[in-house]
Symmetry: C2
Amino acid sequence: MAKQERAIRTHKSILSAAAKVFEERGYQSATISEILAEAGVTKGALYFHFPSKEHLAQGVLSAQDQSLPVPERAAKVQQFVDTVLLHAYRLQTDHMVRAGVRLSLDQQAQGLDRSGPFLRWGEIVRELLEKAQAQGELLPHVATGETADVTVGAFAGVQAMSQAICDYGDLLARTSALLRHLLPSVALSSVLASVDLTPNRGRVVFEEMNSPLPEEGRTADTA
Amino acid sequence: MAKQERAIRTHKSILSAAAKVFEERGYQSATISEILAEAGVTKGALYFHFPSKEHLAQGVLSAQDQSLPVPERAAKVQQFVDTVLLHAYRLQTDHMVRAGVRLSLDQQAQGLDRSGPFLRWGEIVRELLEKAQAQGELLPHVATGETADVTVGAFAGVQAMSQAICDYGDLLARTSALLRHLLPSVALSSVLASVDLTPNRGRVVFEEMNSPLPEEGRTADTA
């Protein structure tokens, strides 16, 4: 058990080091030696967990969408909004998420399949929209796959624009504005009337999930 | 006159070479020597036109939004749609436009101000929306600056997603879907009823602009 915990911790610190190096240097220029130096683990340990630079990059790419499904909501449109705004909040505050998103937009990353996060996020969003549709929350013409793709693509650009202009300073406001523009084409107005999509929602959901009972061993050191 | 024409041609071929090198290598890794070799001009000529790598990058960044205002339309919402779909079409077909867009999303480009294209596109789109608003084509609550920012940011992401998934194969369909999701929150439905925002519209506008009287010396070799 202790052994397994240690392996998980090593895995995490290698990924965290890889995220840092990819973010600073880009996929193409980053080297495994730099990641090794940053992680402070043995070469053997690194290659045991990640046999190649591409495995490291795929690990970082996955980190952005693996964790933290938001709490269930009665209105699935609210759950959809919470998912998007929580992601925006984590992008501002969590360097693993930021590194994953940047890597997925790194067009110089030759030989790295960057379609994964787009496709996985597309699936997550589509499932939420399908639940909303089953509950009668959506307008009758909505094609959930198309709306999911539009949402994921549009969000990727809104975050890139916020990063280029003010290093994410206005990301939550921009994400909220995006949702206010998209949702009237997607959800019934009677549903939207009781949905919270203000910029602050991302932080509210994050804090709800992290207190009082953290579900995941975030503070593993105290365990 | 001939001298000036030659200077313009040199300027264009340097920019075209810079676009190619930045697209292949990224801003950070690209060198002026590589751009020189690609352009086939003298070092003196290159530095006369562009004193530094950043000037070259800014030239490529500007190329994507300088040219081709679309023809005037009675409905300004149509002109807005034409502007977005023409840009998508040019992104599929014009390597200078593609290089500019990619550079503006190159998050490893340290020391390069990439906010320019976002801000300039934001201005272009806002002006069109203001004209539409003045003509009574928009819903009463629309804040044109915010809607312009949402459109520009969302488009940047939709193109990045299309590039990552299928190298722009479905860009026009995705852009059309984005517009179908955004516009019902922006324009009167009576206006939308006569707006063409099908994927093919980008090509239609491009062909309209390039025949029968090309306004710009695109085929300069035959002049």
